[in-house]
């Protein structure tokens, strides 16, 4: 009548081998990693990558150890055995030990990660930071530089006119706006200089994602969300939209140019004409 006792060993040992192989193959893939994060070009990204690697090591160790043990127990206790199973169902010492160890590791990791976060997000941008405004729209990124006066001009929703190229609704009645420089789908910044972005949206949610800077920030209508960073390497990179914004979400791309000071000033000048 009993099904189970007739079906022990081989399949459980196979599962043990499967779990071991899974642990080894996955760990190897992460160590060799033919595909990985794109290079980091942000000052803060160095800390982020370090914390990421530390956490990956801990997560990887937990993953490998758990699967090794799982496999080991199946191998050892999966075959035919004489007598009865062990009548053993508690051990306060072991339970206390693994609870405390896990709690210390997890919460410690959280506090360590919070320090990296706080350094990046709970600090004001340096006084010499250059401010650029980012405005998402379906399905493009708009950028605005304040111009020589250092001030952004007023915007009004009713001034938005895509056919005129006024994507953000710059109000021509405000003199502070006359020297503002706007671009679409291309942003340039000088290398090694703190940059502050004010991220906005004019319609639905978008998310400003620059993989080489190691952050993304949602663009939310009605809000101007500040983020700051310093790029340390010149080159051309990409901005993606990472929040579902409609049918052409997958096409919402901007070029992200990091330039030397001289190149940047020339670029900005060419844009202001």
């Amino acid at each position: 009548m009993l099904l189970a006792p007739d079906l022990p060993g081989p399949l459980l040992k196979l599962l043990a081998l499967f779990f071991w192989a899974l642990a080894i193959a996955t760990a190897t893939a992460f160590i060799v990693h033919p595909i990985w994060l794109p290079e980091n070009i942000s000052l803060n990204g160095v800390d982020v990558d370090q914390q990421l690697n530390l956490t990956l090591c801990i997560a990887g160790a937990a993953f490998v150890i758990a699967h090794m043990l799982l496999g080991l127990f199946l191998w050892r206790f999966g075959g035919k055995q004489a007598g009865r199973a062990l009548y053993w169902h508690e051990s306060h010492r072991m339970e206390t030990a693994w609870t405390v160890v896990t709690a210390v590791i997890f919460v410690g990791l959280g506090l360590q990660g919070s320090r990296v976060w706080a350094r990046e997000y709970l600090t004001d941008p340096p006084a010499n930071a250059m401010t650029i405004e980012v405005t998402g729209q379906q399905f493009a990124w708009n950028f605005r530089y304040p111009g020589p006066d250092g001030k952004f001009g007023r915007t009004r929703p009713d001034k938005v006119d895509d056919s005129e190229g006024n994507y953000i609704g710059l109000d021509d009645g405000d003199p502070a706006g006359t020297d503002d420089i706007t671009t679409q789908n291309v942003i340039a910044i000088p290398v090694n200089r703190p940059i502050q972005l004010i991220i906005r949206s004019r319609d639905v949610l978008h998310s400003f994602f620059v993989p080489v800077l190691r952050f993304k920030q949602d663009a939310v209508p009605g809000m101007g969300i500040p983020v700051h960073f310093t790029a340390t390497k010149t080159g051309e990179y990409e901005v993606a939209c990472a929040e579902l914004c409609g049918m052409q979400h997958y096409k919402m791309r901007a070029r992200f140019l990091v330039m030397t000071d001289t190149d940047f000033n020339a670029w900005l000048k060419s844009r202001s004409q």
């Binding site: 099904l3 189970a4 022990p8 399949l11 459980l12 599962l15 779990f19 899974l22 990693h33 595909i35 994060l37 794109p38 956490t55 990956l56 997560a59 937990a62 699967h67 043990l69 799982l70 127990f73 199946l74 206790f77 999966g78 009865r84 199973a85 062990l86 053993w88 169902h89 508690e90 072991m94 693994w98 997890f106 919460v107 990791l109 959280g110 990660g113 990296v116 976060w117 997000y121 729209q137 379906q138 929703p157 938005v160 319609d203 639905v204 949610l205 994602f209 993989p211 993304k216 949602d218 209508p221 009605g222 990409e238 993606a240 939209c241 579902l244 049918m247 979400h249 997958y250 791309r253």
Partner: protein, 592 residues
């Protein structure tokens, strides 16, 4: 069981006559449980078919599929799947899987069938309400299906339906008209049904237990269903409220989630005063506990099955109960980890981060206890046990990546990339689905009096576990490379287009897994009719469902008045005559 008139305890439970009362509008918790399971099966077939279509487009974005054009003329103009159709498929896939499969089957399906029997009750506390819950769920599913066939197209805003996209109406693009309205209505109706079910489960557990079934003698499945129901009772009203506000924004011109100054498709909107982030708080205040509504029953089922087939008492029963409670409680105060990039205060993000890592502790305790239960066991290799071990593996694999996502500094890179897609598919999707497979093979003999085929079960297990790991381990690397989710194709970005070979590999693995599910379907329907006959106690197990006939009579226990004398997992007790002792056994020969 006796055909004599029932004794005083079984009042009001005469078996109904006639097909409609017996199988359609039934108030019998067992029939309703099976109805939920079949509703889930239908949803799973649909949801899986949709995911196959997504994999087609992702792997070969420009290719023509003339056959699919015949079936979906508007979704495949010229045979090529349109991006908005991709987003619609993605939205319905997520919605149907999360709500109508993962929420419905482990809790409402198996919980309905098994919970009353395991505590020694003859039915749920409110049988008519139970029937109402089921049919309300059916209405919700029908409304969701209808949303795919209305003018303007199926909804495209994902299962999270973030406003403004979901609130603006058709001005914001295709798929945001009537289809989106019906989507919200469907979810609101589903909330109502889930609330009624939760109420019923809680009352039943607290009030209907047999003599001797003290709380600390309840099987861990019952603890898990009870806790998940409590979480559901507190979480679903928030989504219901949010859904109603979102409907008002769409239909009545309010601005709960809409800020001033929006310009949509060239038109200046007149809304003012609302906040899109408010929806995210309401949604995730529900949405994160929802993850635990899905996974707690899976944990209960896994504990139950691992104990049974290791022939050992579950290790640290009390700690397991405490961990279920801790997860249910802490699960309510971690929702902000979905919102690190939303514009929420960074300081609040830090608090949510540490709380989120805290919820990892009771989760880890459960894994340790499952391992300790295996130690020294006489492990029986049933298909059900293999699936339960698969659950443990997925719970670990999906859990450890949570350590990365819980830290905002790291999460703002991974948020909304395929790393997250891999993470939640493993820990929420696969773990829960494997608990469903385990439960199905385990309780099928009770439900239908016949075993499912062990051989087919094992073949299905091996193909599925190998296949899904071939999908989701590589998928982490898409996320590592920074591939955003909800992209209809990866070809528009230089840094993404080099990922295409990996995407194609994932699609092929997905097709294998999808095809393998036919084995499961075949096994279910074949075994109902031709499976090997099962005795009442099909697995030599200990809890109350194994005391009664398979399938059980309408009032479960007939003339028997179940009395419970011991805990739920008395396996391999030294000196006992068998290696299991039923909860109803009073004396143990030879003592302990």
């Amino acid at each position: 069981m006796s055909s004599h008139a029932s004794t005083s305890h079984s009042t009001g439970h005469a078996a109904p006559q006639g097909f409609i009362r017996k199988y359609v509008f039934s108030t019998d918790h067992k029939v309703i449980g099976i109805q939920y399971i079949f509703l889930g099966l239908f949803s799973a077939i649909l949801g899986t078919a949709l995911s196959m279509m997504m994999r087609l487009r992702l792997a070969w974005p420009g290719s023509q599929f003339p056959l699919l054009e015949h079936i979906f003329p508007t979704g495949f103009p010229g045979g090529v799947m349109s991006p908005e159709f991709y987003l619609a498929v993605l939205t319905i896939h997520g919605t149907i899987m999360v709500f109508f499969l993962l929420t419905t089957v482990p809790l409402s399906g198996f919980g309905n069938y098994i919970l009353p029997i395991q505590i020694g009750a003859r039915d749920m506390a409110f049988p008519v309400l139970n029937m109402l819950s089921y049919w309300t769920t059916v209405v919700a599913l029908m409304v969701l299906m209808a949303s795919m066939f209305v003018e303007g197209g199926a909804p495209i805003s994902g299962w999270t339906a973030y406003p403004p996209l979901s609130a603006l109406g058709k001005i914001a693009g295709p798929g945001l008209g009537a289809g989106q309205t019906l989507w919200i209505a469907s979810i609101a109706i589903f909330c109502l049904a889930s609330l009624l079910t939760a109420l019923n489960f809680i009352t039943t557990t607290l009030n209907m237990r047999a003599a001797g079934m003290s709380l600390m003698r309840m099987p861990l499945t019952v603890w898990a269903w009870f806790t998940a129901s409590t979480v559901a009772l507190l979480a679903f009203p928030v989504l219901l409220g949010g859904g109603i506000l979102l409907l008002l924004d769409r239909l009545a011109g309010t601005s709960f989630f809409l800020a001033s100054g929006m310009v949509v498709s060239g038109k200046v909107m007149t809304n003012s005063g609302g906040s899109p982030i408010l929806w995210q708080h309401l949604f995730w205040f529900f949405g994160h506990p929802e993850v635990y509504i899905i996974i707690l029953p899976g944990m209960g089922i896994t504990s139950h099955i691992i104990s049974t087939f290791s022939r050992k008492p579950i290790f640290a029963y009390k700690a397991m109960v405490a961990a279920i409670f801790a997860i249910g409680f802490i699960g309510f105060i971690v929702w902000g980890h979905h919102m690190f990039a939303s514009g929420m205060s960074p300081l609040v993000g830090m608090v949510f981060s540490v709380l989120t890592l805290t919820v990892g502790v009771p989760s880890a305790i459960k894994v340790f206890n499952w391992l300790a239960t295996l130690w020294g066991g006489h492990i029986r290799c049933t298909a059900s046990m293999l699936y339960a071990l698969g659950f443990v593996s997925f719970f670990v694999t999906g859990g450890v990546t949570g350590l990365l996502l819980a830290q905002p500094a790291i999460d703002v890179y991974f948020h909304d990339t395929y790393f997250v897609v891999a993470h939640f598919h493993i820990i929420m999707g696969l773990a829960a689905v494997f608990s469903i497979f385990a439960a199905l093979h385990f309780w099928f003999p009770k439900m239908f009096g016949r075993y499912m085929s062990e051989t087919l079960g094992k073949v299905h297990f091996w193909i599925t576990i190998t296949g899904v790991y071939s999908i989701f381990i590589p998928m982490h690397f898409l996320g590592m490379a920074g591939a955003p989710r909800r992209y209809a194709q990866f070809t528009e970005f230089a840094y993404l287009s080099k990922l295409q070979p990996l995407t194609i590999h994932i699609s092929w693995a997905a097709f294998v897994v999808g095809a393998a599910q036919l084995i499961l379907l075949f096994n279910i329907f074949r075994s109902m009719r031709w499976g090997k006959r099962a005795p009442d106690n099909a697995w030599e197990a200990t809890t109350l469902e194994w005391v009664i006939p398979s399938p059980p009579p309408h009032d479960n226990f007939g003339d028997m008045e179940p009395v419970v004398y011991r805990g739920p997992y008395e396996f391999s007790v030294p000196g006992a005559k068998a290696d299991f002792i039923l909860q109803t056994e009073q004396e143990v020969e030879g003592g302990e």
